[in-house]
Subunit: 293 residues, 2 copies
């Protein structure tokens, strides 16, 4: 675990160290930039960049090659949280124990900060001065697809449409496959593209990502029931209070745990056929299922 | 004018004919796709695609080469209208005489439809099967810059921050330079990139665009005072009622008209040094200043 802890610490620092410079370099009204940086620096596990860097580590690639994509992915994840928290959406006042963006800057600025983060993520990749044009185009194609209507945004829409309805476990899995899974999976796939991995290996990593994306969500649902409030940054049991469709509600505590275990094991199996040193990816897969926040 | 009318009619049809296919090709919840297509097909002058196609016409280029960029730019323009109309922003119930997106689909879906349109615009360019990778990267770089915090989104933010304040004509021009001008100007610049025009010519077209972007906004302000309600699709005088900072308010009717004339003339001068048949661009510049809607 020492290796994993050091890896997580180093790469969390790596991605977080870029945001101030990125936002400072934008010529825009200060209030907008403050709102963007507020949510970018509001903490979080940085799981998506972590997965991208873990692929580069596995293929023994220079981490610099992944910096713009890692930042872009985390900016997209951040914009999605800002918009999801809005009163018109989930109406959340707190995230990770801090006031949400719109509570600090107002709804209008929060909407615009989200729009700006999403837009800038593509500028960041297109302006990268290490990657070649083909790789940039491939990354933008994959990322926009995973983040858009057929991916994350569509998943959020499906989640909203499912609210208050009795869903099957399959329906719920389909929602999370897009809402959480697509952006996690594409982080791995983009890492593979940057590393120049063969198409077959890219697909394995993408499937690995889809499984751990679902593990990640199931673990979130479990933490809402069994977690420590002080560590998870929100009240335990809030999903139940909000009448949310969760894995625990649909499968029971033991059922959800069994499903989590199955996804983690299925993920790790995908790594067997890779021509890479996948130690850190295996450890990350276990961490995602075992984490306390 | 016959030439211009035919050009406008043909290219309005050209860009509008793509949207159904683009949205139909997305694997997403139907309600989200309905909301996206509702605003894409809600009419409008399609000025930005028109300008892009006019550059291709000037350089005698195949229009097909501009289709994905033209659609992408109009999708970005459309998303910005959806988000601007939200209750948290301008709180508009009508646009072009029709209920705004959130009035039909609800605020949450409108936010997501905007996010999806913005994201898909980049996917569209990255997935284009005619343009080469370098051109795609250049387009995405220009477009994301013009649409984001340093361009359109920043302009919208500055506009909001200026509400209720006494602005100078220079402040107002700076706001519109970004809010309206940057996306208009980049439409021309992207046309020049696709046509393979030299950097110097790209810059002339960009300056042409900045001038007509401001003409466009001044004309909008004039139409709000002098326009025909039935043609402009909103009540005459609504800007004054909303206490908006407009050119007419700051410069007076005659002052605004003089400024419009100056921008149109300055725009047209930029075309003199181009190695292209710029007839249609000259006519579009006049049309933007003379239009009745």
């Amino acid at each position: 675990m020492q290796l994993l802890n050091t890896f997580i610490k180093d790469h969390k620092k790596r991605v977080e160290s870029k945001f101030d410079t990125i936002v400072a370099g934008i010529d825009a009204p200060e209030e907008l930039k403050k709102s963007m940086i507020y949510s970018l620096q509001a903490g979080g596990k940085r799981v998506r960049p972590m997965l991208l860097y873990a692929v580069l580590e596995s293929y023994n690639q220079d981490k610099q090659n992944g910096d713009s994509a890692a930042s872009a992915i985390e900016m997209i994840h951040t914009y999605s949280l800002i918009h999801d928290d809005l009163p018109a959406m989930d109406n959340d006042d707190l995230r990770r124990g801090k006031p949400t963006n719109h509570k600090v800057f107002g709804d209008a600025t929060a909407i615009l900060a989200g729009d700006a983060l999403l837009t800038h993520s593509f500028e960041l990749i297109a302006s990268d001065n290490i990657l070649d044009d083909k790789v940039k185009v491939d990354i933008i194609k994959l990322l926009s697809n995973a983040a858009g209507a057929s991916g994350m945004v569509g998943g959020q829409m499906a989640d909203m449409l499912g609210e208050g309805k009795d869903l099957s476990a399959e329906d719920l899995e389909e929602i999370h496959r897009h809402k959480t899974g697509d952006l996690l999976a594409v982080s791995l796939q983009i890492g593979a593209v940057i590393a120049g991995a063969e198409a077959k290996e890219q697909e394995c990593l993408c499937r690995f990502g889809k499984h751990i994306g679902l593990s990640f969500q199931i673990k979130d649902d479990l933490l809402d029931v069994e977690g420590d409030e002080k560590i998870i940054g929100k009240p335990v049991g809030s999903d139940e209070g909000n009448d949310k469709n969760t894995y625990v509600r649909l499968l029971g505590l033991q059922g959800a745990k069994a499903r989590l275990k199955w996804h983690t094991e299925s993920a790790v199996k995908e790594l067997d056929s890779l021509n890479a040193d996948t130690d850190i990816l295996r450890q990350l897969a276990s961490y995602i299922g075992d984490r306390s926040q």
